[in-house]
Subunit: 360 residues, 2 copies
């Protein structure tokens, strides 16, 4: 069967489909559990989560599914940011805060120990899969995880980054094309040079690493899944497709924005977080366009805009929210994550049967 | 068979593979004839060619192959450019000209009647296929072509542009993803918004037009061909894959640059032509980076750099040449265009047979 390969065998699941570990509350335990129950790999997006929240979420997921699932974490970054830069960014944010009646300026704090504490929870629970974004973990971390039989998956956006993942002990690698929504995992190559489309990136990476390649970026339905496999991937990772699902924790304005946009509107902006990410163009992105290159680096700018994004959602002002989306929003659907999985599996099977007839 | 569809039936060829009509001397009659003899659709890139040269090339192609072939032309653009802008651009070019011992400044001339004269030759020869880049031709032109049973193919880089092509009578539409090398055909959507990866663009367009969709951008081998068909395309158009072929008229430095680069190096630049295009990063691109947004518009800047690009090739200085390439150069091969075709067809057939087994 098309879904029986090294990827599904090693993880012990039925279908080679990962629901991406998107941060920011999208990946509820219900979403993760539903995808894993449907035979895919649900993933908790724990990048910004406290160790306690991760612990509780993992407990809930384990109650919801007996199947393997994953937890995604971010390799931490500590950019040098001056007080002046933070002050300048707070000034730029003040018109938005005023409109939202938010009084306080933000003073971002970065916890140096968050990542280690997140890893402790993941190790304690022996989660089946741990995936990483924005870099590769230390050898020590990889060894600890492997000792608990945790499968480790890295993220790459160029051939070089995929090779670095393999060399650093990753069991598999997600290969993210430029179509992807939100932040891509670029960590070694310059951002502009790493803007490579999925169609071009997947076969080039597949030719250069031996670990299973997981295609991501612009994949929304069976056509993208089967095309990825044809290109040399063993599995796919889908983010935007699950943001609009009923189990997703994304704000309704975010879901509606994806449902109603076109492929031209998700643009690259650094304004929300200090790192380039793909989101649906809105007033915040447009107003910050001239300033985005001089903002504090990620994740400092991300902390500085957190109150605005949160309050904008509360007050139903999507023009100031981060509406992350990939470049394939016309294929988005508001349905259960289970239906998304079931439809993809059925459609891949019919597509294969149609192609097989054409092969004769 | 996988290759029997509306596209191949309407054009009357065996395989749904178009060799892109790249301008600038790449598409020799030998290349066009070889691809058409191998069952694909060779295309003469006539965008910058004089009517006489087109006439002679078509005569040669007809001697080389009895099979259908295409001619690609550019919808003309006449940007407003001041003498000051031309003077400024000539100043920026003068360091390159000095190094190359080129004495004269360029004074670009635009012929308002070139396009009509090109069309006259195409009509006279009743070429089987005429394809258009940078826009859609007038209704009158479409009618004239159809009266001669010439199949007309347009180029789109967004869903809207594909719909415009269909509404204006194009029989088929090439859908170019952001991976594509050289100039893409964007003509309606803003350039940045039209930077959509092939994986995302093809299924969205396929859902919105009834005419056959031809996928382009990042496609280099059987994996890309079959993936495109899976995504909803009926055919593919490949450019970079044929630039390095033995029949291609590309300069040897250009072929070598593609053979030796990675997916990270073909970047977007407006410096050579005044219109964004993807080429391998070199000294010219880097030195012009700060000025490229204020250069004369296409095709004026293109005329202004023509002598530099030509002389740089003669003097073997690839650092000042336009080394157009898509984002998949690691898959390029220096072989005959016939071998490229034969290998793709054989590999697609084996890939389908492998998938068919997995379907059971």
């Amino acid at each position: 069967m098309w879904h029986e390969n090294k990827f599904t065998q090693e993880i012990g699941i039925k279908y080679p489909i990962i629901q991406a570990g998107m941060a920011g509350g999208v990946t509820t335990p219900e979403l993760v559990g539903t995808v894993s129950n449907a035979g895919g790999l649900g993933t908790l997006g724990a990048g910004y989560m406290s160790p306690d929240d991760i612990d509780q979420s993992i407990q809930k997921i384990k109650q919801l599914t007996p199947n393997p699932f994953g937890v995604n974490v971010f390799i931490p970054e500590f950019p040098e940011v001056s007080d002046g830069q933070i002050e300048k960014s707070n000034q730029l944010m003040s018109p938005f805060r005023e409109e939202l009646n938010l009084k306080t300026k933000q003073t971002p704090k970065q916890s140096k120990s968050l990542f280690d504490k997140q890893m402790d929870v993941i190790l304690k629970h022996k989660v089946p899969v741990c995936s990483f974004t924005f870099g590769v973990p230390s050898k020590e971390t990889v060894q600890k995880l492997k000792r608990e039989n945790i499968i480790v998956i890295g993220t790459a956006t160029t051939v070089n980054e995929a090779i670095i993942n393999e060399e650093n002990g990753m069991d598999m690698v997600v290969v993210q094309g430029s179509e992807a929504g939100g932040h891509r995992g670029t960590f070694f190559s310059p951002f502009e040079n790493a803007m490579i489309g999925t169609m071009a990136l997947v076969p080039q990476v597949a030719d250069h690493v031996d670990i299973p390649v997981i295609a991501a970026g612009g994949i929304m339905d069976s056509r993208g899944v089967l095309a990825s496999i044809v290109l040399g991937a063993q599995a796919v990772q889908m983010g935007t497709a699950f943001v609009t699902s009923s189990e997703s924790g994304a704000k309704e304005q975010h879901k509606d924005a994806i449902m109603n946009t076109t492929e031209e509107q998700p643009v690259i902006t650094s304004a929300f977080s200090g790192k380039p990410a793909r989101g649906i163009q809105n007033q915040f992105i447009l107003k910050m366009k001239d300033y985005e290159d001089n903002l504090p680096g990620y994740p400092v700018q991300n902390s500085l805009t957190k109150d605005i994004r949160k309050e904008a959602a509360k007050q139903n002002r999507p023009e100031w929210m981060s509406l992350w989306s990939g470049q394939n929003p016309r294929l988005s659907q508001k349905e259960s994550a289970n239906d998304i999985m079931v439809n993809i599996v059925a459609d891949v099977t019919s597509q294969i049967s149609a192609i097989s007839k054409h092969g004769k």
